[in-house]
Every structure is written in C-alpha cells, then in structure tokens.
Amino acid sequence: MQLRWKFVQRWEGLLALLLAVIVLYNAVSTPGYLTVNNWVNLFQLSIEKIIVALIMTFIIINAEIDLSVASVMGFSACMAGFLYAGGMPMEGALGVALLAGVAAGLFNSFWIGVVGLPSLVVTLSGLIGYRGLAYVLLEDRSIGSFPDWFNRLGQQPWLGPFPFAMLVFFVLLVFAIIILQYSGFGRYVFVIGNNQAVARYSGVRVQRTKMILFVVSSTLAALAGLLYAARLGAVRGDMANGFELDIITMVLLGGVSIFGGTGSLWGVLLSVLIILNLRNGMGLANFSGHVQTGVIGALLILSVLVPNLAATVRARWSQRRLRSRPAAEPGR
C-alpha cells in the first residue's frame, strides 16, 4: 500500500498509469493498435520534435529556455534546400546546414553566456530571426526533388522496422540519460537549475555549462530539421513553425519544473508516449486535431496542479492519522 502510493505520488508514476489506461483503451477499441508498425508510425510522425525534446529537457532543468529550436529546424532545412538548389551536392549542403545550426547556437550562447541576457529574450529573437533567415533563403518557394538516398533516409525503414530518425533518437536518448543522470555535466545542469548562485560560489563554470547547452540545442535542432526535410521530401520557409511549443509541452508534461532543478528524461519519455497515444487514440475516435490539442493543454495544467494537490492531500492525511492517534502516545 505504502509503496504503491509513493509510486503514484510521483508524477512519473501518474504518467505511467495514465499511459497504461490510454494504451489499454486504444488496444481494446482499435484492432491492430498494438503492432510494431503502428507504434513506429506514431513515433515517426513526431520524431523530430522528440529528438529536440531531449536537449530541451536539459535546458529547462538548467532553468533556461530555448524558444528558437523550431526556427533553427526550419532555417537549417531551408539552408540545405537552398544550397542543393544552387547546385551543391546534397552531402555538402547537409554539412553546411548543420554548421549553420552550430552557428545559431554559438550566437544564442554568446548573448546568454557572455553578455548575460536572459535566454527567454535571446531565443525569442532567435525564434523570429532564424525564421526570417529561412524566408530570406527560400522566399515563398518550395524546394524538393532531393536525391533518392535522402528521401529514403526519411521515409523508409533503415534497420528492421525503424527509420533512420528513430535510430538517431534511440542513440541520443541513451546518451542523454547517461549524461543527465550520471555524469558530472548533468550534475552541474541540476545544480545550476536549482540555484545558479550556489553553483557560481562553488567554482562551477556556470556560463560555460549554459553555452554548451545552447550550442548543442541548436545543433540538434538543425539535425532534426534536416531529418524533417528528409521525411517530407521538400523544404519551405514555414516548416516546423510553432514546433517549439509542442516540444516544451512534452518536457513540462514530463514533470520537469519550469523553474528548473528537477525532472528526468524518463518522465519526458512517458509524456511523449502519452501525447502520441492520446492523439492517435483520439484521432481514431474522430476527435479533431483542435480537440486533441485542447486535451493536451488540460493535461499540462494538471501536470502542475496534481503534484501540488498530492502534497496537500498527503499533509492532510498525515494530520488526520495523528489526530486519530491516542494523545498519550509518546513521541518519536
């Protein structure tokens, strides 16, 4: 009893429970739901966002935010398309596009880490600026007819049933978990998120840690943008528009505190699975995309509300238990 409650009282426990309910419902109501192919499909439809959610988890735990990720996705994809259309071989175009992502990250981290501006402001300008650059490159053109190997990369299974992007995700997930939960760098990320001043007064290189995070964030966003381009088979200035909010939702719903300092990749993974299955299930039950978004919004509010509520309820209970105890019982 005790154990089970502890499990539910943690947000991750609640998420797992919720996921189980959704999966069970979907499995019963939809034949063929519990097949590998369906799940790969589910993942594949949001895989780029999920990849970026990994690094967003680090950034939010570090008590920062990166709003520019979706624009960097669009920017790097457009850069690749632009160069390819201009006659550069696809391999070269991809390389440059990735470097453009790194450059965007360096630019963000210069303002955040060296100058010391708030990441919210810097990456908000990034959100506008990098999107603008994407439009400057392609205007309202759409560029497609990429080489076959590139389209196959995005659209066909690569290893077993898994497409390339999913393999990238699995590898990154393993790395991310090890780095965040077990490495010294991950420890710094948590400490800084908890209390930046304490980290600084302990000789931790706070700014450097932040700068690394923002460079990695833009680099992964660029990579995700290119994977997205491969999946769509074409690029446009507005691609990945608004993805940053979906990504941040995945992270927050996973129990990562927007104030930093707490959270885990397991929670984020669970929240990703919930969002995917909820959308899938509701889609199958003929709810419109807007209703789905609304439900996810409500879940997000619950993700903040429930842990607080649980704490209050727990406090009440322990008090009631005490009151019902005989008063003469000795303490300790």
Binding site: N195, A197, V198
Partner: protein, 511 residues
C-alpha cells in the same frame, strides 16, 4: 505590567511532523508589556511554535487563547487581524517600494487611490513613536538590515500589533544596531505590546527579557522571571545548562599555534566604490578576524579574494606569487575557499543531498574518465565528513534542506574542507546556529588553524572574533581602521574603531 491579564496563551500545544515530535505539550503565556524570551537550540521547536502562533501550521492538539477566548488561527492574515505579527532575522521588505509603502503594504482597505500625503504623515508618526529616524520616501533597497527591521516593526504597529514575535532579530545586527533595536523594544513594551523574543545571544536575552523560557527537544524545560543583577550570572549558567542538557565548558577555543610561513599578502586592496586601502598579511596557522559593523564591507573583501566580485586596486600575493583572482573557479584552484554567510541563498542547494553538496566544488575529482560521477567515492567522502564534523543526519543522501542550521553549516564547511584550501575565508560561520553547533564550529576552526590553514574570519559576533582570532582587522564603511594583535584587541577598542572613533594605538598599528 505583567500583572495585566494575558493577551496570548498557548495551552498544551503539541505538533508532530512525520517522525519528529516538534512540540510536546507546550504552554506559554504572554502578557501585555512583557518581553518574553524564548531560547533553545536549533530544532528545539521555536520555529514551530512561531508558525503555530502565526497560523502557518495548525497545532495537532492544544488551544490558543487570545484575550482568554480560544481561537483558531488559520493563516497569517487571521493572525494579523487578531494582532499577532512576526518579524524574522532576514526582514522581508520590498526593495523597490519606499519606506512608507512598505509600512502600509498589508493595508488593503485604504480605498482605491493612495493618499500619499496622509500615507507619509502616518508613516512618519509611527516611526517617530519608535524613535526611529528614517526618510519615509526613501526606497527600502538602500536600507541597512537594522533599518529594514525597524520598517517591519513599524508595519506591525500600523496593523495594531498586540503580540509581536521577533525571531532572532539581532542575528544579523551589529552591536550598535542591537542597542537601537532594544530601544525600539523598550518603547513597544511601554505601549503594552507583548513581545516574544527568540534569541541566541545570552547577553542580549538577559539584557532585554522580563521572562525567560527554555525549550529543548520540543518540550518546555523551564520558564522564569529574570533574576536580579546579583543572581544573573548563576541564572545564566543554569539556563545554558537547561538549553543543551549538559554542562558547557569553554565556548571558544582557539588554541595557540606557532605561526607558519607567510601565505597571503594583500596590499592596497580595493574595489572602486566598495572598499579601498585594505592591507594585511596572513600566515599559515593564523586566524585573522575581520570585525566591523554591518555595512563595513568585510564580506566584499572576502568576495574579492574569492573572485566573485574581483578587486580592481592593489595586489595579492599568495605563497610568494602575484595573483589576479578573477573567478571563483580560479580561486578554488589557487586553494582559496569562501564559506558564505548566506547558507540558503549562496551556500547550499537545499533540495539536493548532503553528498552532492559536499562534492560540488571538487566534483572533477569524482569523475571517471568518461565523465561519470563515481557515486561510491562521493558517498565515502560524505561519510568521512559526517563523522569528522559530527553532522547529525540519518544518511548522507538526505536533502540538505531538512537539516538544522548548525548541521547545514557543517555541510558547508565539509564542502570547502574537501577542496583542501590553503586559505579559508569564513563569513559569519556561526550566525543563526545553536550554542552546541557554535562551539563545535569553533573547535573545527581551531583545529584547522593548527593543521596550518590560514583563516580569515569575518564575524559580527564580537566575543567570537576576539576569542578566535590571532589578530583582528577592523573595517568601517569600506576602509580599514586598523589591525590589533590579540593582546591589544579588547571589545572596547575594536568597537571604537568599528564605529569610526580615533584610537591612537590603531593608527600606529595600521602601517
């Protein structure tokens, strides 16, 4: 006045948090015009009692009576409307609002528009009543801690306070400011306010209190009127025994250590607009005390040496080498450690474990070649310090925030001792911790000096500085007023220098 009917009574109150019985059958009576001192070690239950009185926690059992009527106090607003208010050692003023706005911040029924003229007049009247001279139009940001406290007291008065709880109000004040505060308390007493005064410094408690109550481990041990002057020393010993539950011998113990080689030479050290002309040397095995009033900028000297706020004037020589210290990271590498006065804000990450906190400055030593944290070694280190500094905790995996102040202080010390510094800067190392932990910290400091560390001890606790230091440097408003050897340093002389009076001897010693 003590014969007047009680204004606030606590009857048989008990409170339990999980496994801890925070309070057990505590009864206390507050009379108008009486200063009632409540003393006890950290963890004795003082904070819990305050929280129950101000409606933060409901008691498990027992009754609160106001004017003889049982009352439920559900939250701090209700407490306020019943005339119960509390002020804490760290005043809670809004830095961007001015003094008058801060005083009337809790008044919600003053109408839609602010009548500024009336607001200022009323604020001035309240401050005058307290005999405090402050510009009510001045923003609270620039105020000293003492002035901020006066603003908080004025705030309580504006709410017609009848029971004022003061939780270690003197912890951050200099001696002069304590005197001012006591004058305010006197005037409150004359106005018939019942005061519950929580204090750690015995001299102060016996100076101000009419009645002294001792709490220990959540139980009320004794409650007595203050004795006559002749009986006072004996009563004091008795009270201290009751607090700790055992005999306390020497509070302070800096053993004499032969002076080692010169470690640090600081010349004409300064930071524009903050401090200047700081000039001293520390040898290994030596404790150099930094005395002064609040605002003397002693902490700023410490922060400059630690690279948090680097200095821009003068030179620093560490073990014979000229160094420019520009970041804490570099300071740590040079063997300088700074134990901050702000434990909760700058010293420890409270939600994280004891072990995590201890290894933070030295985490690199605990990383494998792949950059992963070697948890077992980390645990071993934490266990080692737990034993060495007697950190009282069931486990080193416990959140630091759950420890008492004294034990948090020891975790902070562990964290920096583990960095194996040559120079240890201690900023108010015993502020807000109980008598026993204080004595333990003093022993640790003394041992460290004996092991050859050079220690820079910044403390506003004058007896502490005098007893612990080989030499005492006195600062006032960013300037060095003099350095006194142990034999020269008397309370009077140090105080005189700190307050800016000229002292022929200090002038002679300065250069």
């Amino acid at each position: 006045m003590a014969d007047a009917p009680p204004v606030f009574e606590i009857q048989h109150v008990s409170k339990r948090f999980d496994a801890t019985q925070a309070l057990e059958d505590v009864s206390l009576t507050l009379h108008p015009g009486e200063v009632h001192a409540l003393i006890g070690e950290n963890g004795a239950g003082k904070s819990t009692l305050i929280k129950i009185m101000t409606g933060v926690h409901p008691p498990d059992t027992g009754t609160l009576l106001i004017d003889g009527t049982p009352r439920r106090i559900g939250n701090s607003q209700e407490a306020q409307s019943l005339g119960v208010a509390a002020i804490y050692q760290e005043p809670m003023v809004f830095p961007d609002l001015n003094v008058a706005e801060n005083i009337f911040i809790s008044h919600r029924n003053r109408g839609l528009l602010v009548h500024w003229g009336q607001l200022y007049r009323e604020a001035e009247a309240i401050l005058a009543q307290l005999d405090v001279h402050l510009d009510v139009r001045m923003p609270a940001r620039g105020l000293t801690l003492a002035a901020q406290q006066a603003v908080e007291i004025a705030k309580a008065i504006s709410l017609h306070v009848r029971v004022l709880i003061m939780d270690e109000p003197t912890a951050s004040l200099s001696a002069h400011e304590v005197d001012q505060l006591f004058r305010i308390i006197e005037s409150l007493r004359r106005q018939g306010v019942a005061i519950l005064f929580i204090g750690h410094r015995m001299e102060e408690v016996f100076q101000i209190a009419d009645r002294i109550t001792v709490l220990r481990d959540g139980r009320l041990i004794s409650s007595r009127l203050r004795a006559s002057a002749a009986e006072l020393p004996r009563q004091r010993e008795q009270v201290i025994r009751e607090m700790v539950g055992r005999e306390v011998g020497d509070f302070f113990a800096k053993s004499a250590v032969p002076r080692g080689p010169l470690l640090l030479a600081v010349r004409d050290f300064g930071k524009t607009g903050v401090f200047s002309g700081v000039h001293f040397e520390i040898h290994q095995g030596e404790v150099l005390g930094f005395a002064g009033l609040i605002g003397a900028r002693r902490t700023d000297v410490g922060l400059a040496l630690f690279g948090v706020e680097p200095a821009d004037q003068g030179t620093v020589e560490l073990a014979g080498n000229r160094v420019r210290i520009h970041s804490p990271e570099q300071a740590v590498r040079l063997g300088i450690a700074y134990v901050t006065e702000d434990r909760r804000g700058l010293g420890l990450t409270l939600p994280m474990s004891i072990a995590t906190n201890i290894t933070l400055p030295t985490l690199r030593r605990y990383l494998s070649t792949l950059g992963l944290v070697r948890r077992r070694e980390e645990q071993q280190t934490a266990e080692e310090y737990r034993g060495r500094l007697m950190i009282r905790t069931p486990s080193v995996d416990l959140e630091v925030g759950k420890l008492s102040g004294g034990n948090q202080q020891k975790v902070m010390l562990s964290k920096w001792l583990n960095a194996q510094p040559r120079l240890l800067i201690l900023d108010e190392p015993t502020r807000g911790i109980d008598v026993r932990a204080k004595a333990e910290v003093h022993h640790i400091v003394s041992d460290l000096a004996a092991q050859g560390l050079a220690i820079l001890l910044i403390s506003s606790d004058l007896p502490e500085v005098l007893a612990m230091s080989d030499r005492v440097l006195v600062m006032r408003e960013g300037r060095q007023m003099g350095i006194f050897s142990r034999s020269e340093a008397t309370q009077e002389r140090v105080m005189t220098a700190a307050m800016g009076q000229h002292d022929p001897i200090s002038q002679a010693v300065q250069r």
